[in-house]
């Protein structure tokens, strides 16, 4: 996983102990690796672009760098479709793993 992807996964993961957080991270990494190459390339390019943005000085970059709830929501509601889809993909992977790793996931 790229730097920004790790930051995002860490920020999005909730409620789990360190071992659970590590398993979520491993699952996301495995899923990104297993994706079709052309999709992984697109996701990687967005991660690099957003990672650069997050390293910019100032308020915008700072919020993204710290992974605040406000900045995550900004990504999910971003006017650019690829940015929204990117945020949705990462959120879906984290959410799926988080829920599946809790007891009684099947109901």
């Amino acid at each position: 996983m790229l730097w920004f992807e790790r930051q995002l996964v860490a920020t999005m993961t909730r409620h789990l102990d360190p071992d659970g957080r590590s398993r979520v991270s491993n699952y996301v990494e495995g899923s990104l690796t297993a994706m079709p190459e052309h999709l992984r390339l697109c996701v990687g390019a967005e991660s690099l672009a957003l990672g650069l943005w997050a390293r910019l000085p100032g308020r915008l970059g700072g919020a993204l760098r710290e992974g605040s709830a406000v900045s995550l929501q900004a990504l999910e509601l971003h006017p650019l479709n690829p940015v929204r889809q990117y945020a949705r993909l990462m959120r879906s992977l984290v959410l799926f793993a988080e829920q599946e790793l809790q007891p009684g996931a099947g109901g």
Binding site: M35, E100, G106, G107
Partner: protein, 473 residues
Amino acid sequence: MTTLDTEIVIIGSGAGGAVTAATLARAGRDVTVVEEGPWVDPGALEPFSLDEMVAKYRHQGGAAALGAPPVAYAEGRCVGGSTEINSGLWHRLPDALADDWRERHQIEEFTPEALGRYADRIEEELTVSKLPGAPPESSAVLARGADALDWRSVEFARVFRYDQDHRGVKQTMARTFIPAAVDAGATMLPNCRVDRLLRSGDRIVGVRCTRRRPDGTDEDLTLHADHVIVCGGAIQTPALLQRSGLRRNIGGGLKLHPTIRVAARFRHALDHADVPMHRITEFGPGLEIGGSASRRSHVALALSDSTADYDDAMDDWEKVAVYYAATHDGVGRVTTLPGLRAPLVTYRLSEGDMSRLGRGLVLLGEALLAAGATELYPSMTGAPVVRRREDLVSWWDAVTRSRTNLMTVHMTSSVRIGEDRDRSGADSYGRIWGMRNLRVNDASLLPDAPGVNPQSTIMTLALRNADQFLADG
């Protein structure tokens, strides 16, 4: 490099490949089935769980057809193919559709009566039946909602075998036709990816594979064969044919059943072990309404898709289940890209599709509210949560290409059959045009999207074509 000889190579072990393998092996033919994925004990993993996704899904479920909007899709990649990961629902091809396809695509022996005879044989072998006893509550709400609105609904049969206590076991290919083929003498090669077909003029003389050994290393394997039957599904089959230099009418015309989903919260708990077997058929063909897998993780994903605050609903997740509306007018393409293993899949929804998805979402909302739902979360970015029927109209405007999140598990029609060489990739029985010993026998052959679960149509067609292969000598 290992080299093996066989009479017939079948590539893929899903609904098409397994039926073909069992039929030909039982007739005494020398059959080898090559499957890219591993053998996974069909009872070992919880259906729709993370472990299952990692073990049995291609790309761990993370694939999408690019377009506006993109459509996420899932395929099986294990012995048994997608029959190992689907819900096991069974819906025969409607007679009117068989008649329509026969005429529009000039398909021989494609009458409802002829197809019905093959479907009877499959249904008997797989013990296709309806659930004994009352349906699960997550399914019953669809029937109740339809009844309250005076709409038609149907309980689908499933490919399940039930014991005396009504416990059902899905009759996947790894439990049925694959063991039947092996018992009849077929050889099964799991963990073996076919890289390309070996061609000599108008014949395929074998296939070149990469086989994963138990120790994790790879070996090259060449299988020489008199006949090759490709059954990799509507994405992988055209990709393999294209990699092997066969491109005429191969990969275009891909059809999907894109679904738009709603997470519905009720006042009472719903069971989550089964996929709902009821469908609202009032608005078909063209628009189908049904239910999806609803483990806690699926509920969370569906709730989060609306981007509304869903923590409260998630705390109550046992009262939430996921439902969908599906349409199928758009068209897509599978294209191999130089140097890449996975093909590029694209799909364009028609304006009619977008309109039907909006209508379907509102109708689905009406049915769920009529069945007692208290909150509805649609899978559209920024769309409002709806609690009253009069608020459903707000969803019409929210269904746009940029805000709608779609997915599908039904892919068909990328190597369509028919006698018109200008429009089809294969003849009426799946023989690839211009090739003497190469056939396709899977979901790719369907000339159009059936608008209902395609498993029955795929298996029926596979059995028909396998019989024709034997008749051809």
